[in-house]
Amino acid sequence: MNKVMFFAHLRDKVGKECLLIEASGKTVAELKAEITKEYSLDKMDTVMTAINEEFAGNEEIIQDEDVIAFIPPVSGG
């Protein structure tokens, strides 16, 4: 199983801080596309992805137990 985390406006849209999903074997892009469709998310091309707290490319393949986080454009500082 995989924990998928949402922040800022994505959290508001999805309505949850995180989901538990079986995503192992999928690429980041595939998972992103599924979530985008299921929750009618937009502007997802500005959203980065992290696997286990490191930024990950779209082609990276998710392993079992990986923690995925979708990272909207940041605004700290």
Partner: protein, 154 residues
């Protein structure tokens, strides 16, 4: 513990103390405070949210980048989260370096990098609503799903 996310008010002197060295004479700090007016719109207060564990890692990464690029530099960064009022301190960056020109440059590098890669988000609250702020122009897209070299080195 030179890189922290804090739920409490930041003690600026404590951050400075982390970078004081006997053989380094120049320390710069950057202090980001909550501004009342942004583009003519009046902010009542802000909420900062962080992906805390990753944010600390990314602050550490920025510190390492600086210590590699500016020899002999020491860095400490604390970013606050939660509800902040106008003039509250959101972030403190302290950098000490052997040469004072470097202390300014390295510090500037830190704030620019924070605005690129550290997972922290700001929600502005106004009299007539609220909104999560994206990057300032919302123009940066990440078609590959992560920041590219180009973005990282700007």
């Amino acid at each position: 513990m030179n890189y922290e996310i804090s739920k409490e008010a930041i003690d600026i002197q404590a951050i400075i103390n982390k970078v004081v060295r006997r053989d380094v004479g120049a320390i710069t700090t950057f202090i980001g405070t909550v501004r009342e007016l942004t583009k003519g719109k009046k902010t009542l207060f802000l909420i900062y949210e962080a992906y805390e564990s990753m944010a600390v890692k990314k602050l550490e990464q920025i510190g390492k980048e600086i210590e590699e690029r500016w020899q002999g530099s020491v860095v400490a960064i604390t970013h606050r989260v939660g509800r902040l009022e106008i003039t509250d301190v959101a972030v403190v960056i302290a950098v000490s370096t052997p040469h004072r020109a470097d202390a300014y440059e390295a510090n500037r590098y830190a704030i620019e990098r924070i605005k690129e890669i550290v997972p922290i988000w700001k929600k502005e609250h106004w009299e007539d609503g609220e909104s999560w702020m994206g990057n300032q122009l919302e123009t940066v897209a990440y078609p590959k799903g992560r920041p590219e070299e180009k973005d990282l080195n700007e």
